[in-house]
């Protein structure tokens, strides 16, 4: 029989090795698989997207965006030219109309899939972009159309960017401006939060900012931007604020910025009226809650707490519905009984 101590040590070494190799995303195996999957087609499609979005794309910017060497970029460019998707005028890259359509198809797949992830699944918000980035190359045009149908032909992705139509049209709202170019004291609604780079996006999410939120600009200096939302005041560095786009709204706001109490603050036995569902409840979840009759004006009462304290069951229109605390926090109810 093998010495048990020796066997344990060998096993520990094997485990450590496989952790290094297979750690999700960072493990060697996944990195290797990633480079293997970066086929010519995927590189071409990513290059098209980059050239479509960038104001002045160059070999260096492409190399950075696709994380490949400039030599490899040259091959990709050559491939795009031979497929008549790209023309080069002097030092400028210019997409042909076929190239533009192709790029828009990929963008359509990406944004639709992000919308699907946001509405129908529980995947982490910070991972949407990455998952969609992988799937955009795998979905066939039929898959994309089926997805669009299923989601009810949405116009915007969850970050507020327009989704190109199947025939390749895409318009950004005319009145859309950057947060920093608003007049002081003006009211506006957030319509877009840029999801790249991930680190900045994660900070915006952590601030509790989301699409559809109404804001009022209080102060703009070269060092900071100050504005208020229903949740209170926010202070952002200009580099963060530059990733927020807004549409100005008329001076008369639909409702006051601050609305009611969160449902989660109700004590057992208390009853209130629902005021609003936060825009952060979306897609399948929002439909489900509305199906259950959780609408502005509905009377809702906290009735029982589970044995572990969370979730809490609420009485809504005669039915008993259990909601988790973090969900109930997104539903606001009247401050008075």
């Amino acid at each position: 029989m093998v010495n048990p101590l020796f066997a344990l040590l060998v096993a520990a070494a094997i485990t450590a090795l496989s952790v290094i190799i297979f750690t999700p995303e960072r493990g060697f195996f996944w990195k290797w698989q990633h480079t293997r999957e970066m086929s010519e087609r995927v590189l071409r499609e990513d290059a098209l997207k980059h050239i479509y979005h960038a104001k002045n794309a160059s070999v260096t910017s492409l190399a950075g965006a696709l994380s490949i060497s400039t030599n490899e970029v040259a091959d990709v460019i050559e491939g795009l030219q031979s497929l008549e998707l790209l023309e080069i005028e002097g030092v400028d890259f210019k997409l042909t109309s076929d190239g533009r359509d192709y790029a828009l198809q990929i963008i359509r797949a990406h944004r639709l899939y992000e919308r699907y992830l946001a509405e129908e699944t529980g995947y982490d918000e910070v991972n949407w972009h990455e998952r969609a980035h992988q799937l955009e190359h795998e979905l066939s045009p039929e898959d994309v159309e089926a997805l669009a149908q299923k989601l009810g032909n949405p116009t915007h992705d969850p970050h507020g960017d327009p989704i190109p139509t199947a025939d390749g049209k895409m318009i950004y709202a005319k009145t859309r401006t950057e947060l920093t170019s608003l007049n002081l004291d003006a009211r506006a609604r957030i319509v877009h939060l840029e999801d790249e780079p991930e680190a900045i996006y994660a900070q915006l999410v952590a601030e509790g900012l989301h699409i559809g939120q109404e804001i009022r600009l209080l102060e703009v200096t070269p060092l900071r931007i100050r504005f208020e939302t229903g949740q209170g005041e926010h202070l952002l560095a200009p580099i963060l604020a530059a990733n927020i786009s807004v549409i100005p709204v008329s001076e008369e706001p639909e409702k006051e910025l601050a609305v009611g109490l969160p449902l989660s603050s109700l004590e057992i036995g208390e009853e209130r009226e629902v005021v609003a569902l936060s825009p952060r409840i979306r897609g399948a979840e929002r439909r489900r809650l509305m199906d259950l009759g959780l609408l502005p004006g509905t009377v809702i009462g906290a009735e029982i707490e589970s044995a572990a304290g969370d979730p809490v069951a609420y009485r809504v229109r005669g039915a008993l519905i259990a909601l988790r605390k973090e969900q109930a926090a997104l539903i606001s109810v009247s401050a008075e009984a």
Binding site: A7, T15, A284, P296, R324
Partner: protein, 478 residues
């Protein structure tokens, strides 16, 4: 339609499309919300509600007890224990009646019939000792517990208690990044993992559903209870004085089942922190009013929908298993059977992880149905040791007394470590083929089916390996 009309139509459509972009992302939601609000107002005006029902107060009282911080969990555990106890003890009698009929009456009749018409020994052995016996075994061990467990389970569901279980357990599943309704598919998995996997359909969101499917295998199913009970009463019960033996071995089995629950949480948490990162997207659990269960309807539908469907799948998979088992024990090359070669080949690895070659081969043969693990182990032990028990090469059997079984295991070189690791490995190994097939049908993904099948085996090897080494280390020190 004239050309002019088409262009206007196109103009209108493209203008509409442009406007859709202009109105912004939340327009759709606002319209839906106002439609719902109007609908509710109209409905409220048009309907009158009868007076509050008298049951309402009773419901509230019951809920206060069943979901209270003090009584919620103990009551839940007690109810589940009662269900298991009813299943296990209630299944004994019909199981032995079925075994009497199928194994002790029909099987000899078939053998007689074969002898009378002069059937060659290999055909007779293949058909009646291999295929028939394995199938009959699966039916007699599997049918009675399922026919008791599923109706009981459905009665609790019908009464309205199971949603309260999900309500109480949700907090733990939330911490593991999973959905509270997974409590229900897990509990269902105690009856049968294939049924548990199907039961995950109640979870709407794909991520949480996938977690529930992959981890369902850690719910100790009916097919594995008999193995646990037999080994615990033979080996664990023997460690303590006779009057405590029953209680201690029962606790050992409960301990294994609780370890399974713990592993469910652990693996759910692992998955939702790594490959299936995220949070529960849609959680709303309706707690329906309690109502008297419709007993006959429940029994009928749960037997037709759950028991028979699963039994049928198990039979389909048991037939080839019986054939393979008999053939591997009877086809010999150079005096050693195929099973013998495989056992010798796997023995070093089996011993390393505190099991042996026979047990590993039995788990391979028993992929179609966990019920036949013990009879296969006994048959193969006889084959390897040449002990005087059983009914012939490649024929599964059961020994009447525990003493005889124990003697056979000891002849096979078993120790307490073998028994403990067998119990662990029986909990932590691949799902049976019925479940694997169901996982594939439910996920539609080969990748996740592979993960759900292989990950538990690897974990099982790891756990038994570590236990064996530590056991030996401690033994060498003492």
């Amino acid at each position: 339609m004239t050309i002019e009309n088409t262009t206007t139509l196109e103009n209108i459509l493209s203008t509409a499309q442009a406007l859709r972009w202009e109105v912004g992302i939340d327009f759709h939601e606002k319209v839906t919300e106002s439609i719902y609000t109007d609908a509710v107002k109209i409905a409220d005006r048009a309907t009158t509600r009868p007076e509050e029902k008298p049951r309402f107060d009773f419901d509230r009282k019951l809920d206060q007890i069943l979901t209270s911080r003090v009584w919620g969990f103990p009551l839940m555990l007690a109810l589940l224990m009662i269900v298991f106890w009813l299943t296990i003890s209630g299944a004994n009698v019909p199981s032995s009646m079925l075994a009497n009929l199928l194994l002790d009456t029909i099987h000899p009749m078939l053998k007689n019939f074969a002898a009378n018409i002069g059937m060659p020994w290999w055909l007779d052995g293949f058909l009646f000792d291999g295929v028939y016996l394995a199938t009959a075994w699966v039916i007699s061990v599997m049918l009675p517990p399922m026919a008791i467990f599923f109706p009981l389970f459905t009665l609790l569901e019908d009464f309205g208690y199971l949603p309260r279980v999900a309500f109480n357990m949700d907090n733990m599943f939330r911490k593991a990044g999973a959905h509270g309704k997974q409590a229900l598919s897990m509990t269902m998995g105690f009856g049968c993992n294939a049924a548990g996997v199907v039961a995950t359909r109640i979870i709407d969101s794909p991520r949480e559903r996938l977690i529930a499917i992959i981890t369902n295998n850690f719910a100790l199913c009916n097919g594995r209870w008999p193995t646990q009970i037999l080994i615990a009463s033979l080996f664990i019960g023997a460690l303590v004085p006779a009057q405590l033996a029953g209680f201690v071995s029962a606790m050992a089995v409960v301990g294994i089942a609780l370890l399974g629950v713990f592993l469910t949480f652990l693996s759910s948490m692992f998955l939702s922190k790594t490959w299936l990162k995220g949070e529960v997207s849609t959680f709303s659990l309706e707690l329906p009013p309690y109502r008297p269960p419709r007993i006959w309807q429940t029994i009928y539908t749960s037997i037709i929908d759950r028991t028979l469907v699963i039994l049928w799948r198990a039979i389909i998979f048991a037939i080839p298993a019986g054939a393979v088992l008999w053939l591997s024990a009877n086809i010999t090359i150079g005096g050693t059977s195929l099973a013998g070669y495989l056992i010798n080949f796997l023995d070093p690895f089996g011993l390393l992880i505190g099991l042996n070659g026979v047990i590993l081969v039995a788990f391979i043969v028993a992929i179609p149905a966990n019920e036949i693990v013990i009879p296969t182990i006994m048959m193969l032990t006889v084959l390897v040791t040449g002990a005087s028990a059983g009914e012939g090469t490649g024929v599964m059997f059961e020994l009447e007394s525990g003493m005889e079984t124990m003697a056979l295991f000891e002849a096979g070189g078993w120790t307490l470590l073998t028994a403990v690791n067998l119990m662990l490995f029986s909990l932590i190994h691949n799902p049976c083929s019925t479940t694997i097939y169901t996982i594939f049908k439910e996920t539609g993904s080969k990748k996740w089916t592979w993960v759900a099948s292989l990950a538990p085996v690897l974990l099982g090897f790891a756990v038994t390996f570590v236990v064996a080494q530590i056991w030996r280390l401690v033994a060498s020190i003492l």
